[in-house]
């Protein structure tokens, strides 16, 4: 498959993130802004998959980063910083979902994403992209979270288990069923050579 230009910027190293967190512990607001800008797109996407309401994404994302700001000294480095932050976001999202239990149809996800593909690639990707979004909508919130944490956020299954506070086998099972569902839905949209 022809690769499409990535719209996200290169992710900083774990070391750079830890250096930022050290400065955040010292109440360095500039360092916290840098950390925020690193995690904001990743958290926005993760949270949208969980709560599916732009207003709630904004609220939960802010709450998550406030916890990071207020409790940075509690991060002991026993896990990756990303795992710690996503775990906070996941817990915040669960609480938000209790308050707003019934999802409502929302504008399609792709209206909120950057769109700068080359014109010669749009048709091929558009179809697959739309099929993927439709397929994701049919998954439960927890299945969507596992898919996003795996494919987009690049977390391992043990890290995902830590984020979601569940056994690793649960993560594997959720991913297995989610993949099966995704493949069913997008099977007609895949390039012929697959």
């Amino acid at each position: 498959m022809a690769s499409r230009p990535r719209t996200d910027t290169a992710r900083p190293s774990g070391l750079e993130e830890l250096e930022l967190l050290d400065r955040v512990r010292a109440r360095d607001l500039h360092a916290f802004e840098r950390l925020y800008r690193i995690y904001q797109p990743r958290l926005a996407r993760f949270l949208f998959n969980l709560v599916q309401r732009p207003q709630l994404v904004e609220e939960v994302l802010d709450d998550t980063m406030m916890v990071v700001w207020q409790t940075a000294e509690r991060f002991r480095g026993t896990s990756k910083l990303s795992t710690w932050i996503f775990a906070i976001a996941y817990r915040k999202a669960l609480k938000a979902r209790i308050r707003w239990p019934d999802p409502v149809p929302d504008e399609p996800f792709d209206t909120r994403v950057s769109s700068d593909p080359g014109p010669d690639e749009q048709l091929q990707h558009r179809h697959l992209h739309d099929a993927l979004i439709a397929a994701m909508d049919q998954l439960s919130a927890d299945h969507r979270a596992v898919v996003d944490l795996t494919y987009f956020q690049g977390l391992g299954y043990r890290e995902i288990a830590e984020v979601m506070n569940c056994p690793v086998d649960t993560v594997k099972t959720r991913m297995f069923h989610a993949r099966r569902r995704l493949k069913q839905v997008i099977s007609g949209s895949l390039p012929d050579w697959l």
Binding site: M1, Y36, H129, T150, G154, G156, M175
Partner: protein, 209 residues
């Protein structure tokens, strides 16, 4: 002698791990397991191709970064100022009350305020109760957010169509508080959600909707 791993078990185990193999997130043991199986399983080789498509597609778009930083920075800076000033006042009051003479005076003043307030209240209360006056406004039981491009006429039409009346708003998040009769709320919510002008409509008092 340990039981040999059945081929179907090895296949299932490797297949489960393929997403993390595709994203490079397996530890060496898992990676070796998957690679060993991939060398002999055409089905998993095809699955791996699909996994790589999914990874590429999922990573090819990201939400746009909005101006959330300004909002969060304000939240960090403002409450700190508010909390410190409130805390300072509270501390001063507490310290003053801890002085015996001040405490005695404060208790006497508080007693005076309570007694005199009760007398004034009883004198000002009318001896009759009017009928049909001072009815409490209806409580909001629906929260709605209209789409940014909804016009005033659109909003009016949505409210009329649902039988809802406006109780309050817009809030800081541009939400409106509505009241609908309890027995018609489900229908009202459905009506609001069916219009293209409503971004969100939810019950807000804990009851179903």
């Amino acid at each position: 002698m340990p039981n040999p791993v059945r081929p179907e078990d090895a296949h299932d185990e490797a297949e489960e791990l393929l997403p993390w193999y595709a994203t490079g997130q397996l530890d060496p043991t898992d990676q070796a397991l998957v690679e060993h199986h991939l060398s002999t399983c055409a089905r998993c080789q095809r699955q791996l191709g699909l996994e790589r498509v999914l990874v590429e597609e999922f990573r090819s778009f990201t939400p746009e970064v909005d101006t959330g930083w300004t909002r969060l920075r304000d939240r960090i800076e403002s409450p700190a100022r508010t909390r410190s000033s409130v805390a300072g006042i509270a501390t001063q009051i507490w310290q003053a009350l801890n002085r015996p003479a001040v405490a005695t005076l404060a208790i006497a003043q508080l007693a005076f305020v309570i007694v005199s307030g009760s007398i004034l209240l009883s004198l000002s209360r009318p001896a009759y109760q009017a009928l049909g006056t001072s009815e409490a406004p209806p409580a909001a039981n629906v929260l709605v957010i209209f789409r940014p491009d909804a016009t005033e006429a659109d909003i009016r039409g949505a409210l009329r169509g649902s039988g809802a009346s406006l109780v309050g708003g817009p809030t800081a998040a541009n939400a409106y508080l509505l009241h609908v009769p309890a027995d018609r709320r489900r229908a009202a919510l459905a009506s609001l959600r069916s219009t293209g002008d409503v971004q969100m409509a939810e019950p807000i008092d804990g009851a179903g909707g």
